[in-house]
């Protein structure tokens, strides 16, 4: 592996979150009964014509601006001609020579502390095909054209990635960005965010690219990493055994964790691209672009830098918080109430909250604990009303819907004991009950202090302030 280098590029198809299709007024909502959202235009009926959805164009421009790319002032739609039953017109309306978005770039963090710029060659608009269902009928394939005509933004990266980890970091970054921009919901299970990987290998030091294989049918980041790693191994083994990599499309099989050549669907397809005569060039002015730029929300990179610069978060934490827009917004909402508690909030959000979300499979936007609720909990620790340990109990109770931090602390009587005389009384009781350990401590066994602290905490049901317990104990045991 060490003399070899892998070269990876990703093609991502992001389904744009418009309510209607790119060229017709049918709905794009997911999950409808077959062919109930396919109008005459989506069905490719004789005589129908496409008209372009303004919002799809706006969304593409938003993406282009966010990656620092040129927006073509006169992009052109082209027909990509091939026959397949889920492609009703026998051609897909896409963009070829003049895509709407040109060259851009995005920075990724494949591992803590690492940064890399990945180039994006272009992004263009096109229509999605329908779905072919192979398991509904014994000897036939069923065609559902609900999805036909849904707008896609095809984002093509430069072959700048050198490992599966980098590829996944890039895919996650694009995923995060399209969600930030509110142009795509990023739901990989429903197919609204699809990644295809182009993978090739070459010996280190070689400048020419090896022959690449295109990997498809990958619907999670985990599978993306596995598929790419499998393919790299496969290609290296093949070449080392004297074989040659063939340019082809390979499907990833998640069950067997391998890639397989597709049956000759790909026989060097001649798509016969030409400008679609039913559509005219899309004119985009500098004013259009400026307006869209002004309306952009704060983007992940900007947010991250702001967290580092103004809030003094670490690069790592800032990256994690900004990876998901909902997480960042949660954090910012909580900060409103308690701006001075940013460090603690970060820990709770990335720690206990993330853990609970993971366990229950919820999105942060559906969490039973709201930003103000979390802010209150953190404030109660900071003002010593409860200890950090008790706070975990309170968090669990909040998660189960028992109410706010204050309500729970009150109901369960969890307030920390900070009254010195009360603590002294507890300590006296414990000292009196454990003369042997007192001897041991006074004899020089420092560790025994922990035993006493534990006993006091137990006596107080964990509510005694640990710092005060420690100080008073030492004093009394002298």
């Amino acid at each position: 592996m060490s003399d070899w280098e892998s070269v990876i590029g990703l093609e991502i198809h992001a389904q744009l979150a418009t309510v209607s299709k790119i060229f017709s007024g049918a709905s794009t909502a997911f999950g409808a009964e077959p062919n109930t959202q396919a109008c005459a235009i989506d069905l490719g009926m004789p005589g129908v014509l496409p008209v372009l959805n303004r919002e799809a164009v706006n969304m593409a421009i938003r993406f282009g601006v966010a990656i620092g790319a040129q927006i073509d002032p006169h992009s052109v739609f082209a027909r990509k001609n091939y026959f397949y039953p889920d492609l009703p017109k026998g051609y897909q309306i896409s963009q070829f020579e003049l895509p709407i978005v040109g060259k851009g770039h995005i920075s990724i963090s494949p591992a803590e502390g690492e940064h890399k710029e990945i180039g994006i060659t272009r992004a263009h608009l096109e229509e999605d095909a329908g779905k072919s269902i192979h398991d509904q009928f014994p000897d036939q394939t069923g065609i559902d054209l609900n999805r036909a005509g849904t707008p896609l933004l095809e984002i093509v990266s430069e072959p700048d990635m050198r490992s599966a980890k980098e590829a996944v970091a890039y895919a996650r970054k694009i995923h995060s960005l399209v969600r930030y921009l509110e142009i795509c919901d990023g739901n990989m299970q429903e197919g609204s965010f699809r990644c295809d990987a182009n993978v090739s290998v070459r010996r280190k030091g070689e400048h020419e690219l090896g022959t690449r294989a295109e990997l498809k049918n990958i619907n999670s980041f985990r599978f993306l990493e596995r598929a790419i790693n499998f393919e790299i191994e496969r290609q290296i083994d093949l070449i080392e055994d004297g074989g040659q990599v063939v340019q082809e499309t390979r499907l990833y099989d998640a069950e067997r964790d391998e890639t397989r050549s597709m049956r000759s669907k790909e026989e060097a397809n001649d798509y016969r691209y030409f400008p679609d005569p039913d559509l005219l060039p899309v004119a985009i002015s500098d004013e259009d672009i400026a307006r869209i730029r002004a309306e952009l929300p704060e983007l992940p990179e900007q947010k991250k830098q702001r967290y580092i610069g103004e809030l003094k978060l670490s690069d790592y934490n800032a990256e994690l918080l900004t990876a998901n827009r909902d997480t960042a917004l949660f954090f910012e909402a909580a900060l409103i109430d308690s701006p001075q508690l940013s460090a603690q909030l970060v820990n709770w959000i990335l720690g206990d909250l993330a853990g609970a979300l993971n366990r229950t499979g919820l999105d942060i936007s559906a969490a039973p604990i709201t930003p103000p609720m979390l802010a209150q909990l953190v404030a109660r620790i900071a003002d010593h009303t409860i200890s950090g340990k008790i706070a975990k109990e309170v968090f669990e109770a909040m998660w189960q819907g028992e109410g706010s931090a204050d309500a729970i602390i009150e109901a369960r009587g969890l307030k920390q004991i900070t009254d010195s005389s009360a603590i002294e009384t507890l300590i006296d009781e414990v000292i009196a009950a454990n003369p042997e350990q007192v001897e041991q401590f006074r004899a020089g066994k420092d560790k025994v202090l922990g035993f006493f602290v534990g006993q006091v905490m137990k006596q107080s049901q964990g509510k005694a302030n640990p710092g005060q317990v420690n100080a008073i104990l030492r004093d009394k045991l002298k």
Binding site: M45, P46, G47, L49, V51, P85, P277, D278
Partner: protein
């Protein structure tokens, strides 16, 4: 009974007859003559009578639209909801359109009655109406001869009095050439003037729908209904629609008319040339200023047109695959078989030829040499016209190189058929409006003269034609169908 659109409108308004009566009249004539002429693929008798009854009721209620009660025939290329729309092809023989073309909606809106769907060259590909799955159409002036194409059925129907007017489409001359061969008046509007939504596509950047009728006056009425912006067609123009009828009488005093020297050279039958000369003289007498112009790239127009039209149609016709509508072969063994046999059985030879050439022209390695080159030549041809229109208001030319030829005379050699389009094709490439009107006869067959206008000057064309038709009666002549 009246046989012009204007005459029918006036008769209906004066209560001389009802729409039901006049519709029945036309239906009877269709029944009598269609077996010989074969103008109609589908006759929508019940629908027509329902529409006629509705029109009469609207008129009685004081709600008569501009074409209320007027029977019209439609080329079988326009989708008509609930009525077969075949495009003259076996592949759509069983296709009942599930929606109305915008143009059909306009006619319904204005109260017209649909008599039926007219025969045509398959998918509008042809210049003689010999390429139809439903058999050739006969020219009413001489049934051994072709009516022209691709809108042969519509032109012949109007010429034979089986309909007072009809719609057609023109991609390379398919309204103008049959109008010339059948001795009727027809106009192809500016590209984008009439909506293409529901007009089954052949050459998307060239196709336009337009009317056939007995006079420019009638065409003006029809064009008024057909024209206008359609948000469902991205190539539809928002240019305002003038009142065509109001401008008919503007005369041609001082109008500068150019005669392109390339169109009056060899290749034009000398007897036709003589007939057209007479018509030109009439225009001079009416005050037109006739001058010679040049359209130097005329010779390139045929290859340029055919590359573009064939490339576009090869893609437009991919949707006819036996999956969602239309002809499907029996017992397909796999998907490939389904496609190949459904399409192989469904399409005629000319359509297959054009799909093959179009596919070839767009295929890897040939795009630059064919398609891209043709688009460049197209701009050069457009520029020729733009230059000419700096110095003239209208251009006058023959419509065809000869009169209607015999059925079967050109079917052995596709190229000789393509050369029929020499005078009509250029303006489709440029997107300009053009019309043909009858100006005489040679060997008992009509001769048409073509007028070409600048963008959106349909009113100028119609006015010029109208001026001529005020001092001539070629357009009033009708063939004797009993002979």
């Amino acid at each position: 009974m009246a046989n012009s659109v204007i005459g029918i409108c006036q008769g209906l308004a004066r209560g001389e007859f009802s729409s039901v009566e006049i519709t029945k009249d036309y239906l009877a004539r269709m029944q009598q003559h269609n077996p010989t002429l074969n103008c109609f693929i589908s006759v929508s008798e019940e629908l027509a009578l329902n529409q006629a009854r509705q029109a009469d009721a609207m008129r009685a209620a004081g709600n008569a639209g501009p074409l209320n009660g007027v029977p019209i025939a439609h080329k079988d290329l326009f989708c008509t909801d609930g009525v077969r729309t075949s495009c003259g092809s076996r592949i759509l023989d069983n296709f009942i359109a599930p929606y109305d073309a915008t143009l059909i909606e306009h006619f319904k809106r204005d109260g017209a009655v649909m008599l039926g769907k007219t025969n045509m060259d398959e998918f509008a590909m042809g210049s003689s109406n010999e390429n139809s799955f439903y058999g050739p159409v006969a020219n009413p002036w001489n049934i051994q001869h072709v009516p022209g194409g691709s809108s042969g059925g519509s032109a012949a129907a109007v010429a034979a009095g089986l309909a007072p007017a009809a719609t057609g489409t023109d991609t390379g001359g398919s309204i103008r050439q049959p109008a010339a061969f059948c001795g009727v008046t027809g106009i192809k509007p500016t590209y984008g003037r009439v909506s293409r939504y529901g007009m089954i596509a052949y050459g998307s950047s060239l196709d336009q729908g337009g009317p056939f009728a007995r006079s420019a006056e009638d065409c003006a009425l029809l064009l008024q209904t057909m024209a206008g912006f359609d948000p469902r067609d991205s190539t539809s123009s928002e240019e305002a629609v003038p009142d065509y009828s109001a401008r008919l009488g503007q005369g041609i005093e001082g109008v500068k008319i150019g005669l392109p020297k390339e169109y009056f050279a060899e290749g034009l039958d000398s007897r036709l040339a003589a007939v057209i000369e007479n018509a030109i003289d009439e225009l001079r007498k009416l005050g037109a200023d006739i001058k010679e112009i040049s359209l130097p790239n005329t010779g390139l127009s045929i290859p340029t047109y055919y590359v573009i039209a064939m490339a576009e149609c090869s893609s437009n016709l991919s949707r006819f695959d036996g999956v969602r509508f239309g002809h499907r072969c029996d017992d397909p063994v796999d998907l490939e078989d389904l496609y190949k046999r459904s399409r192989g059985e469904g399409f005629g030879a000319e359509v297959k030829r054009r799909i093959l050439i179009g596919t070839y022209a767009l295929s890897a390695g040939y795009y630059d040499a064919y398609y891209l080159k043709a688009q460049q030549l197209r701009r050069m041809i457009k520029n020729d016209f733009q230059n000419a229109f700096e110095n003239v208001d209208l251009i006058l030319a023959p419509t065809t190189p000869g009169v209607a030829f015999k059925i079967g005379a050109k079917t052995d050699d596709p190229v000789s058929m393509y050369l029929q389009d020499i005078y009509t094709i250029s303006l489709n490439l440029a997107g300009l409006p053009g019309m043909s009107l009858p100006v005489g006869f040679v060997d008992g067959l009509p001769v048409g003269m073509q007028l070409i206008g600048n963008y959106f000057d349909e009113a100028g064309l119609l006015a010029a034609a109208h001026s001529y038709q005020q001092v001539s009666d070629w357009h009033l002549q009708t063939p004797d169908l009993e002979s």
